[in-house]
Symmetry: C3
Subunit: 342 residues, 3 copies
Amino acid sequence: MELSLNQIAELLDGEVFGDLEKIIRDVAPFETANDNQITFADSARFYKNLERTAAGAVIVPRKVKAADKNIVKVDNHKAAFARLMDVYHPAAKPKTGIRSTAVVGKNFKCGKDVSIAPMVVIGNNVSLGHGVILYPGVVIGDNVLIGDETKIYPNVTVQENCRLGNRVIIHAGTVIGSDGYGFVAEGESYRKIPQLGFVQIDDDVEIGACNTIDRATFGKTWIQRGVKTDNLVHIAHNVTVGKNTVIVAQTGIAGSSTIGNQATLAAQVGIGGHVHVGDNVMIGARGGVTKSVANGEIVSGFPEIPHRLWLKVQRIIPRLPEIKKKLAIVEKRLKKLEEKLD
Amino acid sequence: MELSLNQIAELLDGEVFGDLEKIIRDVAPFETANDNQITFADSARFYKNLERTAAGAVIVPRKVKAADKNIVKVDNHKAAFARLMDVYHPAAKPKTGIRSTAVVGKNFKCGKDVSIAPMVVIGNNVSLGHGVILYPGVVIGDNVLIGDETKIYPNVTVQENCRLGNRVIIHAGTVIGSDGYGFVAEGESYRKIPQLGFVQIDDDVEIGACNTIDRATFGKTWIQRGVKTDNLVHIAHNVTVGKNTVIVAQTGIAGSSTIGNQATLAAQVGIGGHVHVGDNVMIGARGGVTKSVANGEIVSGFPEIPHRLWLKVQRIIPRLPEIKKKLAIVEKRLKKLEEKLD
Amino acid sequence: MELSLNQIAELLDGEVFGDLEKIIRDVAPFETANDNQITFADSARFYKNLERTAAGAVIVPRKVKAADKNIVKVDNHKAAFARLMDVYHPAAKPKTGIRSTAVVGKNFKCGKDVSIAPMVVIGNNVSLGHGVILYPGVVIGDNVLIGDETKIYPNVTVQENCRLGNRVIIHAGTVIGSDGYGFVAEGESYRKIPQLGFVQIDDDVEIGACNTIDRATFGKTWIQRGVKTDNLVHIAHNVTVGKNTVIVAQTGIAGSSTIGNQATLAAQVGIGGHVHVGDNVMIGARGGVTKSVANGEIVSGFPEIPHRLWLKVQRIIPRLPEIKKKLAIVEKRLKKLEEKLD
């Protein structure tokens, strides 16, 4: 694909400084881009050193001053570059239609231009919106509803009664709608508590690879609009995750907890059961949350403490041997003084 | 389904106080139940406030006094309610038979009323008991033995020579019988140690979604009767997990360790290799066990310490900056005194 | 299979002390081996107590003195025993050929003696080397290249453009080439950053079950020769893992980090983004690495500190309540002295 900088600026609602007719054939990282490619300057470190890239043009924030380079000024340079990546490399669309080796249940409803790969198995009473893509090995249970333009990668399982919105992406190997972990002691053994609810995943959610999102005991486990999860994330029964919250890899959320909107759960976090994590909360990597966290707080550690305090504590912990030694010396000196004064 | 309270009490071996003929059409949670539904009072907070539910009846412990509500007194109110959930919502049974798109190996033995879904692949010399359910995408290796009424959810892999008992449930995406992680250094690289053993899973075990349970190097990795694992649990080669032990999400157990009966491993726990965790042990969330733990102990932290001590320690850790400061002040005051006395 | 000790010694480049003609029919562990079996003495504890095994012969290091047992002295007794395990129990090879229920895309290239199981789905422009084994439910995306003798276990997904070398083993349920976790804020929501790169896995790598290895944003996520990962490991986009590095279960490596050669990441480790972990580094179990680690260092804890310091710190942490109490006593005694001297 070929676009002039002028065309690119129009696409991105940006302003070109330099050669308007410069032809750009691809996107590339700052360090490796060549004269046919456009890149972006991630931060001041990059846009104050534009001579360091061989790119034919650079996307920069509005505030950047003119330079010896061709630059395209935009409001959100990172988002603009991501949009351009999509333009030069549109997502591959598998052939539309239902492959002959897919198995589809009774009472199947389905929009236009769906693509159902070989070895997909779809239960009864399933409804798919327009443009849905199901990759090989996907298993869809009975009574599942899926919206428009949703894409499900290979070997994903979506179990009965679950509901997925529009433009949802589910990465490979993930399980949606496994039973919640509910048991009740009965003598020395445990009786299973039937898990009668479902999982609802709203529009524009992206779920990473090998996630496990359990169905609710009653009602729903609910992943709200715009949530993004990384790989190997566990979300237990009856959890609600609020809009545009991001959950980084290997995090687990225990049963019946609720996470607010625009929250950030960094990697390897654990959220205990029956707690509420507020809007805009940030949990540092490996934080273990045992109590509810108010809107806007930044916490780390296990159990969670304010992030700033945690940073101080983390600096002291390696000095514990020294503190212990100092205390022992203090005790000796004190004893000496006491004896002197006796 | 319609049952009178009288019929329900008979089912549960309970006693009705109130309207024996009251018709109940469903089960529901305390907060959302309506007059056609029965619920249960989880704890004193609920059964001392029975007026707070709109349920047509409430299942309560024997000790609860008569109330303005219809109540059903039973010995184990949680287990009774779980039983009732099963009565009103019996688990869906897929059609029996072997779907035409399933592939079955040589020398296949199989009980009555099995249900083998599309895209299931079964190796040679496999034996299934009565009523086994294999969901789509399940792969069963050669020489696998599976007991009666066992249910294996979509995209699960059970590799060669593994043995599953009766009424076992394996949730979606799980892998049973992957190779143990065994290597031996040979110069700068590693030689694989062949993993010649298998995995044995006894009766009434339930394994969560996306678990990995490795085969033994020699002999067996053994999950004993009644064990329940949550999602994303890792169990390494040659581990034994004792009867009715529960293992919460994202826990890992390293090679050759043994866990006793009725133990509880909370979420995100790690158990080191070659240790023994005793019967009735409880490991707190995120506990990291490096040595053997005696029967009945309750431990937390990494490395593990008694849970009560850990609670104290956890309260002090955020106060470390304060302790450090106090110690510095003490040192100064001490110095002053020493100088005075010199 | 029957081999004389003489034949075994030739195979292993070893030296027999005892009955050269002794026939050995199998390999077995030290504790359970019988007179027809050979075992190995793992460490001094075993080879100084050779009378404790009933094995017909024992493989031992060269330095071990002659004994009442038949022994075979070799340079690397563990590797020698692993080789013998392979001799007596060669890995099962599924039937060669492409099963009729596998689906293969356009422009498929394929070496000799491949084995493609039922329900395998292979995209367009895929190339497989000689002797490749694809187990049931494996999904291979478009433009994937796979070398000779590579083995991919059931329900693994290898997405488009990824490259696997020779003699690679991928265990069941693993996902290679899922999208990197890349998003850019756009108002209150997030825009997906397209992930245009791929994953390259070099020769002799073994990847555990239910791993997730993300494709690069640009370029490649790179797992170099001889790397071995355990189960449930997460490797993010643009990570490089150096040669012969071992990564134990449930470890996660964040985006753009590089790990050197011959490093060891113990279980449940976390490596932050954009850091470099040097050659021969060892990270203790549960270590959380936030900064780059120089070649040869041994670190533990979160954030990481030298392992020896961490051991000291770990011994002090349970004594914090005692330290706090001692400090309070010191303060009181000090106050008394100060009053006396006032």
